[in-house]
């Protein structure tokens, strides 16, 4: 019974998943691997195979949309390099993680014609919630900050059935420095589907 109580809010939210697609609107879910760049690469060098993007777009004029996008991108690296701080050199297996949660507003411009392949370019801006964590031995150093950031984006949608397209995107993410964390950059790709109407 307690389990039902716990999950009831989620159950009540589930019907939202069945909201009919509105005209000139676009929901998309993409698998989103990423490649770290700059300071992000210095901290966690491995390409990320863990990532997801969810986005919504709505037409505001012909070929132009505005919307929101949310994502979750995970970077990690294991290293045993020596870290020096406060006159002490520390070595051991380090486990480094970056969890990035971009929450962006976007504006996109679509090329092509309705019903055909639709290339698009876009500009995203918003906030990246980023957790940087370093585990070494029994110790954990972590910091979570809200980074202001922006992300130019390009992609194309290939219709695969009525109101549904295969979606391929690429996005360059640049998050400004925040807290004790320098600016962060990474490329992120998306492959998934868009449930759309009027595109």
């Amino acid at each position: 019974m307690r389990a039902i109580r716990r999950f009831l809010p989620f159950l009540l939210l589930m019907p939202l998943g069945a909201v009919p697609v509105q005209a000139q609107s676009w929901w998309a879910v993409t698998y989103a691997p990423s490649v770290p760049l700059s300071n992000t690469k210095t901290f966690a060098d491995n390409a990320s195979w863990r990532g997801i993007n969810v986005e919504y777009k709505k037409a505001i004029k012909e070929n132009v949309t505005a919307g929101l996008s949310f994502g979750w991108h995970v970077f990690d690296e294991q290293t045993d390099e020596v870290v020096s701080a406060f006159g002490v050199d520390i070595s051991g297996d380090q486990f480094r993680y970056v969890n990035s949660f971009p929450m962006l507003l976007n504006v996109s411009y679509f090329l092509g014609k309705t019903g055909g392949i639709r290339p698009f370019i876009g500009a995203d801006a918003g906030v990246y919630i980023m957790e940087h964590r370093l585990d070494v031995g029994l110790y954990t150093i972590h910091e979570t900050n809200a980074h202001i950031g922006f992300a130019p984006e390009a992609g194309f949608a290939i219709p695969v059935r009525p109101n549904m397209s295969l979606l391929v995107t690429g996005r360059y993410n640049y998050a400004l420095s925040a807290g004790n964390v320098d600016d962060q950059q990474y490329l992120n790709f998306g492959v998934g589907f868009a449930w759309n109407q009027g595109f």
Binding site: L8, R50, V54, V74, D76, D89, G92, F95, L138, Y139
Partner: protein
């Protein structure tokens, strides 16, 4: 469609921190510190007592465990090998008339740590779990959950003391290099020698200034 996204998110849950340590040896840490002003290349001789001394830190009197001396020989020999490779000559005994440049000591510490966490999960208790009708539906603070973890930690501390600058009146001798090797006292006994060897190697590898030109 949101359902699909939600399912994907659930599937990815737990992936925040992939590739976390799977072996206790991956939690071993070595920390070293040294004095910048010392010319380690000028150090020629040293004395090292042929034992690892178990100590009880003042802050851990109640939680100190007996130190396992079964690996003392390995610790002492491996330290001596590294110092020899660096060009240090070991003297058999401390001779006040012909003192060594430095004294190297090795200490062992074993401590049981207990961490207690109290958390208040924000579960959505939907409904009337009080009697007769105390709470309505909604989100609220759940019952506190108390979690206790206990783990034993062992440390080996290698100190290098500068006998040339010993202050006999004040009974003080400056420490010019220290290596603290710390790890969980878990895992198999068979794994211990390899973990100790790796930790001592790391201590000297990350201290290249100890070498003689």
């Amino acid at each position: 469609m949101l359902g699909l996204g939600f399912s994907a998110a659930l599937g990815a849950a737990g992936a925040c921190h992939p590739n976390e340590p799977t072996n206790v040896a991956e939690l071993d840490v070595v920390a070293t510190a040294h004095e910048d002003t010392v010319d380690y290349g000028a150090i020629a001789t040293y004395v090292m007592p042929d034992s690892v001394v178990a100590i009880v830190p003042p802050e851990s009197v109640l939680t100190t465990l007996p130190f396992d001396h079964s690996h003392d020989r390995q610790i002492l020999d491996q330290t001596a090998e590294h110092l020899a490779a660096l060009g240090y000559t070991r003297l058999d005994t401390y001779d006040a008339d012909n003192p060594p440049d430095v004294v190297v000591t090795i200490r062992g510490i074993a401590v049981r740590n207990t961490d207690i966490y109290v958390s208040y999960p924000w579960w959505g208790y939907w409904g009337w779990y009080g009697w007769p009708c105390c709470y309505g539906p909604g989100w609220g603070v759940g019952y506190p959950v108390v979690t206790a973890t206990q783990y034993d930690v062992g440390s080996i501390v290698i100190d290098m003391w500068d006998a040339r600058r010993a202050d006999n009146e004040a009974e003080r001798i400056p420490s010019i290099w220290v290596a603290a090797l710390r790890g969980l006292l878990e895992g198999s006994d068979a794994q211990a020698p390899a973990r100790i060897e790796q930790a001592i190697d790391r201590a000297f590898d990350q201290s290249p200034y100890l070498g003689h030109p």
